[in-house]
Amino acid sequence: MYVYILRRLLATIPIMALVAVFVFMLLHLSPGDPAVIIAGDFASEDQVHKIREALGLNDPLYIQFGRWMINLLQGDMGESIYSGMPVTKLIGQRVEPTLMLTLCTMVIAISLAIPLGVIAAWKVGTWIDRVVMTLAVFGFSVPVFVIGYLLILGGSRTLGWFPVQGYTSIFESVPGFLSHITLPALTLGAVYMALIARMTRATMLEVLNEDYVRTAYAKGLATRTVLVKHALKNAMVPISTTIGLGVALLIGGVVVRKRVRHSRPRPTDGRRGAAHRLSGHSGRDPGIFLHLCAAESRDRPDLCPLRSANPVLNPVLADTQR
C-alpha cells in the first residue's frame, strides 16, 4: 500500500517537471518585456538595459530556468518584480479565504448533491428523477458568472440578505463569515453539484440492480437502510473520484467567478484586461505568474497584473484587498 502510494507520488515528478517547462516557456514566449514596463515610459535605453541585467533577463533561457527551479525547490518563489514582496508571503495572505471558500463549496455541494442523486436513482423514471436530472444538466450549462450575477441580484439586491462583496475571517465573526461566503460558495457549487448528482444517480442505478440489494429488500430492511447502508456505500467509490476530480473544475471556475466580484467598483477596468495584463507586465513577472499570486493590484491598481489569473488560487483575494 505505502509502496504503491510512494510510486504514484514519484510518478508525478516527471509530469510536474513538464508542467514547469510548459509554464516557463509560455511566459518567455509571451510578448512584452518586463524591464521596459518597470522602467516606465520615459526610461532611456541604458536604464532599461540595466534593469534587464539586474533581473538576469540577459542570461540564456536554460540558465534562467535552472535558477528559477533551484529557488523554487528551496521554497523560494522569488520576489514580485513590482512590489518587491516575496511571493510566498503574497500567497500566504490568500490561503485562508481560498481554503474556506473551497471547503464551504464542497460541503454545500456534497450535502445537497448526493441525496438528490440517491433520490433520483431511487425514483428512476418518475418526474422527480426528470426534474433532478434536468436541473443537473442545467447546472453545468449556465456559466458560473451568470449564476453569480443571478444570486447577487436575488440574494443581495432584492432580498438584501447577503453583501455583494467582501470577506470576513471566520475567526473574527462567524455570522459575518457565513453571510460573505454563502453566495460565492453556492455559485461555485452549482457545477460541482450537477456533476456529483449525475454521478451519484448513475452509480446508484447500477448498484440497485445488484443481487445483494434485492436480498436486502427481501429480508425486509427499510428502504432507507437499503439505499444508504447497502447501495450508497458501494456506490461511493466512483462518486468520491468525481468529488476529487471536481476540485480541479472548482479551481477553474474560480477565475471567472472573481470577475463578478471585481466588476462593480472598477469602472476603469478595460475590456481587453486580461490579455493585455498577461502579455504586458504580469505575465512577465515569473515569480508572480507561476504561483498565480498577486497582491500587486493593491500596490499598483493601475497595473493590476494578473487580475484574471491570480484568482485561480485566490478566490476571495480581491475582496480581502479592499
Binding site: 510536474m16 449556465v142 456559466p143 450575477y149 466512483p238 469602472p267 498577461l278
Partner: protein, 294 residues
C-alpha cells in the same frame, strides 16, 4: 488463399446509425427538445443579418440603457445598440467556436489516440505529455494561450482546442486498448495487414460513436469557455459581438439594466443545455456502454 469477407458498405453503416439516432429522437422527448432548441438558436444566429434587425454595431448614444420595448425587444446597451440584435448575432461566434473546437479537438485527439493506443513504443511518451497538459486547468491554459497569440476568433478556437485534446486522446486510447486484443484484430495482424490499414479499417470505426458523444460535450463546454474567456477579457476581439463580449461589456451596468447580462446569459445557457441534452440522447442511442461515465 484469400478470405472473402462480407463487409457492409460505408453508406449502409451510416444509414443504420442515422436510423438509430432518428429512432431515439422519437422515443426521447428531452433529446428532441434539445435538437429543436439548437436548430432555433443556429437558425436565428446565422439568419440574423437577414431578419431586418437594427445593425448590431449601430450606436445611438441617446437611447442608451433603455428598458425593453416593442422596438428593442431586449432594450439597448450602454452605447444604445440594440441588444436583441446583438444577442442574435452573438450566437454566430459562440456556435462557430463550439463546433470548430469540437471538430478540431476530436480529430486531433483521434489521430494521437490511435497512434498512442496501437503503437506501444510511443505510448508512454505521448501519455506523459498529455498528463502534463491535462494538469494545467483548461481555462487557465486557454487564457495564457490567447494572451500569447493575441485575441482573434481563430486563436480562441485553438486555445480552447488544445486543453481538450488530452481528454479525447485518453478516450480513444482506452477504446483502442480494448479493441487491440479482440480476436478480429489479432487475426488481421496475423494475416499481415499493415498497421495503418488495421487502424483505419478495423479500429477507427469503433471509436466513432463514443467520439461523437464526446464531441457534443466538448462543443457545449467550448461555448461556455468562449464566454468565460471573453468575460475575463481574453476572448474574441471586442468588435465582434459574442455572448461573452456582450456580458463582459455590460457588467458595469448590470444593476441598471440586468438584461444586459441576463439575456445573453439565458441564450447561452439554453444553447449549452440543448447541446448537452442532445449529447445525452446520442450517448444513450449510440453507446450504451458509456452510460455510467456521466
Amino acid at each position: 488463399m484469400s478470405l472473402q469477407v462480407q463487409e457492409l458498405s460505408f453508406g449502409a453503416r451510416l444509414r443504420h446509425r442515422i436510423g438509430v439516432v432518428a429512432d431515439s429522437l422519437r422515443r426521447n422527448p428531452t433529446m428532441l427538445f434539445g435538437v429543436i432548441v439548437l436548430a432555433l438558436m443556429a437558425g436565428s444566429a446565422f439568419l440574423a443579418p437577414w431578419l431586418g434587425l437594427p445593425e448590431p454595431m449601430h450606436q445611438s448614444p441617446r437611447d442608451r440603457l433603455q428598458e425593453p420595448t416593442s422596438e428593442a425587444l431586449f432594450g439597448t446597451d450602454m452605447y444604445g445598440r440594440d441588444l436583441f440584435s446583438r444577442v442574435l448575432h452573438g450566437g454566430q461566434v459562440s456556435l462557430v467556436v463550439g463546433l470548430s473546437v469540437a471538430a478540431l479537438a476530436t480529430s486531433m485527439g483521434l489521430f494521437i489516440g490511435l497512434i498512442s493506443g496501437f503503437i506501444r513504443s510511443v505510448d508512454a511518451v505521448i501519455m506523459r505529455l498529455m498528463d502534463a497538459l491535462m494538469s494545467i486547468p483548461s481555462i487557465l491554459l486557454a487564457i495564457a494561450l490567447v494572451a500569447l497569440w493575441g485575441s482573434s476568433v481563430q486563436n480562441v478556437i485553438l486555445a480552447l482546442t488544445i486543453p481538450e485534446v488530452p481528454r479525447v486522446v485518453r478516450l480513444v486510447r482506452s477504446v483502442v486498448l480494448m479493441l487491440r486484443d479482440q480476436l478480429y484484430v489479432q487475426a488481421a495482424i496475423a494475416c499481415g495487414t499493415s498497421t495503418p490499414r488495421i487502424l483505419i479499417r478495423h479500429i477507427l470505426p469503433n471509436t466513432i460513436p463514443p467520439l461523437i458523444v464526446q464531441a457534443t460535450y466538448i462543443c457545449a463546454q467550448a461555448v461556455i469557455f468562449e464566454a468565460y474567456l471573453s468575460f475575463v477579457g481574453a476572448g474574441t476581439p471586442p468588435e465582434i459581438p459574442s455572448w461573452g463580449n456582450i456580458m463582459a461589456e455590460g457588467r458595469m451596468f448590470f444593476f441598471q439594466t440586468p438584461g444586459i447580462i441576463l439575456y445573453p446569459g439565458a441564450f447561452l445557457a439554453l444553447t449549452v443545455f440543448a447541446i448537452n441534452t442532445f449529447g445525452d440522447g446520442l450517448r444513450d442511442a449510440l453507446d450504451p456502454r458509456m452510460q455510467r461515465r456521466v
